[in-house]
Amino acid sequence: MQEIKKVTVKVPQAYLDFMNQIFEIEKKAANLKEENSIQRNLNKMKGILEEEFFKGSSTIGLTYHNPLGESYSDTRTDCEATISGTGVENLEIIEVIKPIIFYAYHENEKVIKVIVQPAVVIVQSKNSNL
C-alpha cells in the first residue's frame, strides 16, 4: 500500500490569532442592525490573507470556514466540539467559537489544503428537547 504522508504545517500562532479576530469581527458585523459595509473590508482582509500575503512562494494563503449550521458527527475531526442540550443524534453546530483555518499551497500544480486550526464549536441535537 502506498502511504500518503499526512502533512503537518505549523503556521505561526499570530496568523491564526489574526484570522480568529477577523472571524470575530465578521460575526459581530453580521449582527449589526444598522446598514454598514464592514463586510466589504473584511472580505478585502480575507482576500489579502488568501492570495496576497504569500505571493511568490508555493504557499497560496490562509482561509477560514465557518461551519455554523452544518451537521456534526464524530467523524468530523475538523472541529473540536462540545455537546450541549440533551441527545447525541442528529447533531448540528449551533455556535462557532473559532473557525476552521485552512492553509493552501501548490504541489505539482495541485492545490493542497491542510487544516491548521480545527474549529471550536458547540453542537446540539436537532431533537434536543428544549
Binding site: 502506498q2 467523524t75 475531526t77 487544516i115
Partner: protein, 831 residues
Amino acid sequence: MENTINFGIDLGTTNSAIAKFVKGEVIIFSNPQDYGRNTLPSVVSYKKDKITVGNKAKEFLEKDPKSVVGVFKRKMGTAESFKIKSINESKTPIELSAQVLKELKTFVNTGDTLDAVVITIPASFDTIQSNATKEAGIQAGFKQVVLLQEPIAASLAYANMKKEREMKDGQWLVYDLGGGTFDVALIKIKEGEMKVLDHEGDNFLGGADFDNMIVEKLVIPKILEKYSFSNLEDEMKSATGKFNAKYYVLLRRAEEAKITLSSKTSAEIVIDGFEDEDGNEVDMEIVITRSEFNELIKPNIDGTIDMIKKIITRNSLKPIDVQFTLMVGGSTYIPYVRSRVEEVLQIPANCEIDPTTAVAIGAAYYAATKPKEISKSDSNKKQTSISIKASYNKASKEKEELFAARITGDVTGLSYRILRQDGGFDSGIKKLSDRINEDLPLVDGAYNFFTLAVYDEQNNVVETDIEPIGINSGFGISGQPIPEDICLEVDDYDNPGKTRLKLIFQKNSILPLRSQGISFPLNKGMIKGNDDDFIYINVLEGSHLALPEANKGIGFMEIRGTQIKRDIAKGSDIEITISISESRDITISIYLNMADQEFKQTFNPKERHTPIEFLKEQVEDLSEKLELEIQEATDKEDYETAGALNKLKKEMETVSEETENLTNDDVTDKRYQLEDKKRKIAQEIDSATKNKRIQQVKAHYFEVKEECLKMLDENGNDHERKTYNDIVAQENAFFATNSPLKIQEKSDEMHSILSRIKWRTPEFLTGIFQWCKNNQTRMNDQTQAKSLVDAGNFAIESQNWERLSEINSGLLKLLPKGAEKEATTRIGFGL
C-alpha cells in the same frame, strides 16, 4: 531488529501518550488526528459498527455515557465492567485500556513493529491493578509489557534532561496535577536505584474543575450584577436549560482565560449572544485578574499541600530533607500552583520538564534500558493478504462523495479506517467486511486525499494493495474552462483618452471564477445628482491583447451622478469585482470608496446589453484610431498596412453614419448588428497592425538567435546547446501562433542562454569587473569593496575566471539597488 524495547506509554486516567527512544533522544509521537497535540484522551466510544478512541469519543462522554467510557483507569483490577448499550455488551477496564493502547500504536509513524513496550502505572497501583494493566498491553498485541511507576518515569525524564547518569542519593516529591486527577509521590534514590516511598492522591481534582469554578464563581455573578435572570445558573448547567449551549461557550472561554493567566496578569472573557429576561442583549467583557483566579483555586491547592504534609509527617521528614518538588501534569503550568506549593512547604518547586509529556518520555528512557525478550519466530507476524478494489468519483463538486470498495481475502477480525490527509475526517476504526461504503466529506477547492488502512485485531497494519484515494474537489479536471479571455476595459495611461484591456480571467480558467477586487483611481470626478457625470464599466470577452473594440461586450454597467450619495472626487478609488458562475452568469460589483456605495448587477450572456450612447462613443473612438493607424503606416512607408487599413475606412464610415442615426431608445436589433460590424472592423485593424508588431519581434528574435549561436560555438556547454536546439525546434510552432507576445517570450529565453554563457567569458567578466571598479566609490561597504577589488585584480592576473565571477556578484550586491540595475542593463546581461 532493535534489542531494547525503546517504546514507552503513559496510560493516563484522562490523557495518554507514546514516546520512543532513538539514538540517545526521546521523540514523542503526535496525535495524527489532533493537529500536533501529543496526547490522546483516554476515552473510548462504541457504536454499532465502530470504535472511536480519543478526542471524538471525549466529546460524547458526558452526553452519551451509555456508549462512551472514560476514567476507567480508576477501575483497573476490579471486577466492575461497563455496560455499553449501543453494542449490548459489557467491557472491562482491561479491554477499554487495550483500545487506548491500540490507538496509541497508530501514532507511530516510524514503521516499527510494536511488540514490546513499557507502560506506566500510578504509584498507588497494587499487584492486581498492575497485572490488569499488563493484561491490557497483551490484549493490545504487545508480546512483552514492562511496567513502570509514573513518579519514577517523571523523575527519569528529569534526570535524563539533566544528563546526569547517576543522580545523587536523596529524595524528592513528584507533584502530578493533571486535567482530572492529582497524585503526589515521595521518591528516594539510593545507590542509583529509584524507589517510590509513599504516595497520596485525589481522583477528582484537576484543571477542568478550575474552568468550572471560573464560570460558576466569577462569570455568572458578574452577569447577574448587570442583567436580570431569575435562574441563570440552572438554565446554563441543565442539559434542558435554555442557556446550556452558552454554558459550554463560557467553559471554553474560561479555559482560554485560565491559560492566558499563566503568562499574563489579567485575562478577558467575552460574554455575548443572548438576551436577559427583560430583553436586553447581553454583551459584556469580564476581566479576571490573576489574583482573583488564585484566590479561587486556593482551597484546592491547599488541599493538595495537606496531602504532601501527610507524606512528610508519615516519613518523619523535614522540608530540608526533600531536594525539590518535581512539577508534572498540565495544571502545574499555573504559576500559583508552583508558588503556593513552594511557599507553604518551603521546598523548591522544580518546573524544568514538560509537564504534559514527562511521564511518557521517562517511560521511553526506561524502555531503552530494557532488553527485548521476544523470540524471532514470535515476532514474525503472519500477514493476511488482502486485496481492495475501490470505486469512487475522482472529481466531484459535491460536499460528500461515496466511496465503495470490494475486499477479497479473509477479512475475519480485521478492521479499517479512512483518514483525510488534511486531518479533517476520521471514519474511526470499523469492522472490515467484503464490501464497505463510506461517505467521504470533501474540502471545496482542493485535492482531497484519503488513506484507507486495514488493521488486524491488535491494530497492526495489514498490507493491502489499495492506492491513496484522491478526489479533486477543486477547479481542476471537473470544471469547464472559459474559451476566451475575460477583460475589463480600463484607461490607457500611456495613451491619454484611450482605453486598453486589463486581463481579469485568462482563457481556459475553470469556472466558476471570482476576481479579487480590482481597485484604481477614477480619472474624473462625479457630482451628486448630475446626470451628465457617469462611469462606465465594460467587461469584454476576447483576447486581452486585442483592441477593446475588437472584443465582445458581455457585461456593461454605468453609474450616474444621480445614483450617488455624495460627490466623488477625481482620484478616489473605485473597486470592481467580477465573478462568473458555472452557468456563465456574470456579476459585476462596483464599489465607490468615497461614497461607501456598492452597485451590483448580474448579466446573463443571453441578453446582450448595448447602450446606444456607449456604442456611439466606441464607434467614434474606433474611427479616430483607424485614422491614426493609417497616418502612422503611411509615415513609415508601410504601404501594405496603409492599404489594408484604407480599405476598412469606407466600411467604418458607413457604421459611423448608421450609429449616429440611431435614437437612444431604438428597440430594434440594429444596435447589435452595428456592434458586430464595429467589432469586425476593430479586429481587422488589429490584425493589419499586428503584422507590423510581429515583424518587429521576429526581427529581434533572429538577432538574438544569431548572437546566441555564435556564443554557443565559442563557449557553450551541452546543456545550453540543448536548450538552444529546443527553442529552435519550436520555431515553426510559435511563429504560427502569430502572437507577438509568444515570440517575444522565446526571444527572452534565447537571451537568457546568451547571458549565462557571457557570464563565463573572460572578456565579459573583466568588463563587469572594470565597471564595478569605476563605481567603487558608490558601494555600500567600502572595506569589503576594496578587498573584493584586490581579490578581483588577483583573479584576473591568475586567470581564475570562476573566482572573478563570484567576485563580480559580490561587488554588484554592494551597489545600491538602482545602481545594480544600471550595471546589468548597461553591460547587457540578465533579463
